[in-house]
Point group: C2
């Protein structure tokens, strides 16, 4: 791994371990196996490190939503599973999403991140409505701007309560609750089957 | 206001303004109009201040869910409006909920907070199912442990994206999406009417 990536990964692990407030440059440099001087060369402040983690998280997670197959709704379920897998294994993703909700210095990066996500997910909901899979009086934009925050809350509270041990059952329940009211009856069994296969 | 409450309120405002990491005891004491010595007498560390805000938030928010009237589902909608009003006007509540999602030192207080909330909301869902308002193959416990995180995510992302300016429309869309799949057809129009009156 190149040095910049190593540092970002060590920073993400440290932010997850002790929280952003308590994390120190010294501990991050030690964990990355670089000198503090080398770390400062890449990231002059702790804020810059956090923004680096947020940006890299954004790149990694947004990639999973760019694959839409013939069932747009199933693609959304698959995307949520992809993000869930990253939350469980990739500290850049878990730390990046948590940092993006902190108050203050990260706000501009965070707003751009959620706007991009909500835009991308709303596009897939638009396809799902057009394909006949979904039938609802909510607009695609309302569905996107509601489900992205819902997923955010479900994974965050799962992290806080159980260290994400209940993440899959929590997402299973989330999708069953969500789809119950919007799925067209003709697609209901198939799509609930996709949810059960993905998270059951 | 007594001095301890004044300090907690100033701390909450400062955590919301600059973030927990960047907040200083000196700035909080200044905003509360007390000496740093007086502040340390009540709260010996910044962690103690944060835990004080989380606890006080917990007391204030949990109170609104203890009022269940003849329509349990309508009571849940009313409770979410009550919390939304507090999020918009009470810095203790907005700062407390945000702090409760930070990694690290606050975890025990946070787990207790979410367990209590999910337990309380699940109890109301149990009444709503028993009363015939809701009809779903999800259990009351699954509904509680899904909707509390959903609400958390919706209000947090609203805070990040728009400073909570879109909180009411976001909650309106959340409830319409949620109720669509679980409400008994005989209660549908009435309960969607409650949502529209509450957040529309």
């Amino acid at each position: 791994m190149e040095r910049r990536a190593l540092i970002l990964e060590a920073a993400a692990r440290e932010f997850e371990r002790v929280g952003y407030a308590a994390a120190t440059i010294a501990a991050i440099a030690r964990a990355a196996g670089v000198s503090q001087g080398a770390l400062y060369f890449h990231f002059p402040t702790k804020t810059a490190l956090a923004l680096g983690v947020i940006d890299e998280q954004n790149v990694r997670t947004f990639d999973v939503v760019s694959h839409v197959d013939s069932s747009p709704t199933a693609s959304l379920v698959a995307a949520s599973r992809g993000i869930a897998d990253m939350l469980l294994t990739d500290p850049i993703v878990s730390a990046g999403i948590r940092l993006s909700l902190e108050r203050g210095e990260f706000a501009p990066a965070t707003v751009a991140f959620y706007d991009q996500w909500i835009g991308g997910i709303s596009d897939v909901f638009r396809l799902a409505i057009a394909s006949g899979e979904l039938r609802t009086d909510l607009t695609a934009e309302q569905l996107g701007s509601t489900t992205v925050p819902m997923f955010t809350g479900v994974q965050l509270v799962s992290a806080v309560r159980t260290g994400r041990q209940d993440l899959f059952p929590a997402l299973d329940a989330m999708w069953r609750l969500l789809l119950g009211g919007i799925v067209d009856p003709r697609h209901r069994d198939r799509l609930l089957g996709v949810v059960a296969e993905t998270f059951g």
